[in-house]
Amino acid sequence: MKIEKHTVDHVANLARLYLSEEEKAEMMEKLNSILDYMEKLNELDTTNIEPTAHVIPIKNVFREDEVKESLSLEETLKNAPDRSGNFFRVPRIIEE
């Protein structure tokens, strides 16, 4: 599979990235050379192989839903790039 320019545009949009024309060209070249190597995986027959998502057997952990101490409002908002009172401020997303 070869990545073409429109794929780079599509993926960049999914990843919420702006890329300059130069970056796009470089990205296309480097991703393609990496993906060429990925083709090696197709040398392996994995028809009846189960995928491994986690190496250690783990299962969902349940606990009681109890109210516990958590970060204060002040601590939570301390790193906010833009704050308005007790809120994170973002650009308007609902049309007037």
Binding site: M1, V8, L19, Y37, K40, T46, A53, V55, I56, N79
Partner: protein
């Protein structure tokens, strides 16, 4: 006495006997940092005031029961420390002050270790040289024209240059072991789930693991004692009892069976590295262990499967950096999507963008089965290789990296060449196994790393093997010389520094 050179166990003895104070030790470390860090550049943030205050508290309390009490530590800058800047070496987090501690930080603080500062790394732990830091490159204390490895390059360099007594790193595809190998120190990636990841900035969640970087194997066991164990804040942390790892420090490997995988000695592996590791095998044989060549046939495939799985998980984990709740937000945006895109495009470096793109592509509609699912299946095959080997062998012996530390700038233009550096360490993460790197020789002036891989949760065996090897050899005693006059050239000469380690005495 140069007390900044002490190991944890040496410092602990002196602190306990009141022969040195914690404040003295902490000050000695900051003096050391001031004299050499402009050449090494291991630290992003130093907390001199906080560390000295802590040291005085520790001295006042006079309780040195725990071996880490009063011992100065450096922490990789992707592990949250409350009130102390944690940047991940990224512009997008350059102003981030965590409002909480990672479990790792809680555990070190509860033992009264003294946190000196936060160490440099490849941005978001993506890299093998620490050149991908958004701020500056760290240099290898053995030769400042070379990289320290990565991504925990700052932590490994700080240990090697005696700018801390021990350090903490994280390892997703070799990021503790490879820099430890390149810097001639001891680095362990514990079994996946052995150490809580709560508060570790996530890169690839199914592979990430926190671990110690230390001056010797004894220190490694002491740190692991403090940081291992189940944590309610990390549901992937294992509910398996934590043994006292210092009980494994016995110089005895007699009767042990060692597998030496031929795939780790093939093309691309430097001849001197190969020779040093095969010499190490002979040291083990002299001590009564038996070595046999084995095959782990999916070794190379592990590398390529990793470079699908890790970027895929990263693309998802890094979606949270959107400039809303913390971190840096771009200026002058038109709407919310524009805010996201500008923030992320300005905030992430080239390698991070590359991996986000690769991962987003691999997970995108129509390509998921071909890449991500395929890679997960290959991961099963990689794990089976090891399962098979561990039926017969107690541990596996191989190089930590194919070469010694390379020159700064040598691989920066070629991601594939950079990725190949991780070929010896990645399979261990893919299978979730514990692995330790320790020095086993030199190529010229540069240290060579020996990797010992064990069964899941069998850190005791690899610590015992590593300890036995260390006691039988002197490589860990040799120190780099950081001479101000020759810092810019590859050749470093130094008369004052000890030069203990030549060969094998087993």
């Amino acid at each position: 006495m140069e007390i900044y050179r002490l190991t944890i166990h040496e410092a602990h003895e002196l602190l306990k006997k009141r022969e040195i104070s914690c404040e003295e030790l902490t000050k000695a470390l900051f003096d050391r940092i001031k004299s050499v860090d402009e050449k090494i550049r291991a630290y992003i943030t130093l907390d001199e005031e906080g560390a000295l205050q802590k040291s005085r508290e520790v001295d006042k309390r006079k309780d040195f029961t725990n071996p880490l009490t009063g011992v100065p530590v450096a922490i990789k800058d992707n592990i949250c420390t409350e009130g102390l800047k944690t940047t991940c070496a990224s512009k997008i987090l350059e102003n981030f002050i965590p409002p909480y501690d990672a479990t790792l930080s809680v555990r070190l603080k509860s033992r009264d270790a003294v946190i000196l500062g936060k160490t440099n790394m490849d941005e978001f732990a993506m890299g093998s040289s620490t050149e991908n830091s958004a701020f500056f490159a760290t240099r290898n204390p053995w030769d400042t024209t070379r990289v320290p490895g990565g991504s925990s390059g700052g932590s490994a360099a700080a240990v090697a240059a005696d700018e801390c007594i021990f350090a903490i790193g994280s390892d997703t595809g070799g990021s503790i072991r490879q820099p430890a190998g390149y810097c001639g120190v001891v680095g362990m990636k514990p079994t996946y789930g052995r150490v809580s990841r709560y508060g570790l900035v996530a890169y690839a969640s199914s592979l990430d693991q926190i671990g110690p970087i230390t001056k010797d194997v004894t220190d490694c066991a002491m740190v692991l004692n403090a940081i291992a164990g189940r944590d309610i804040m990390d549901s992937t942390s294992a509910d398996i009892p934590v043994p006292d790892y210092t009980l494994s420090l016995k110089p005895d490997v007699s009767g042990m069976k060692i597998g030496i995988p031929r795939e780790y000695f093939g093309e691309g592996i430097d001849a001197e590295v190969r020779e040093a590791v095969l010499n190490a095998a002979k040291v083990f044989e002299k001590m009564g262990a038996s070595c046999e060549e084995i095959s782990l046939p999916h070794t190379e495939y592990a590398l390529w499967a990793y470079y699908i799985i890790a970027p895929a998980e990263a693309s998802s984990n890094l979606a949270r950096y959107d400039g809303i709740r913390y971190g840096v937000r771009a200026k002058d945006y038109e709407d919310l999507i524009d805010l996201y895109k500008k923030t992320r495009s300005e905030g992430f470096g080239a390698e991070v963008k590359r991996r986000i793109m690769l991962g987003t592509y691999a997970l995108s509609s129509g390509y998921y089965d071909a890449y991500y699912l395929k890679a997960q299946k290959v991961r099963t095959l990689v794990k089976r290789d090891f399962d098979q080997a561990f039926k017969k062998y107690d541990f596996i012996l191989c190089p930590t990296a194919p070469t010694v530390a390379f020159k700064i700038g040598e691989n920066t233009d070629d991601p594939l060449k950079m990725y190949m550096n991780d070929v010896c360490t990645i399979p261990v993460n893919m299978a979730g196994l514990p692995g330790i790197s320790l020095p086993c020789g030199f190529s010229g002036n540069m240290p060579i790393g020996l990797q010992i891989i064990g069964r899941p949760f069998d850190e005791p065996t690899i610590l015992q093997a590593a300890y036995a090897f260390e006691q039988a050899t002197e490589y860990h005693l040799k120190k780099p010389c950081i001479d101000s006059d020759t810092a810019s050239s590859g050749e470093q000469k130094c008369d004052k520094e000890p030069d203990a380690g030549k060969g094998v005495i087993a």
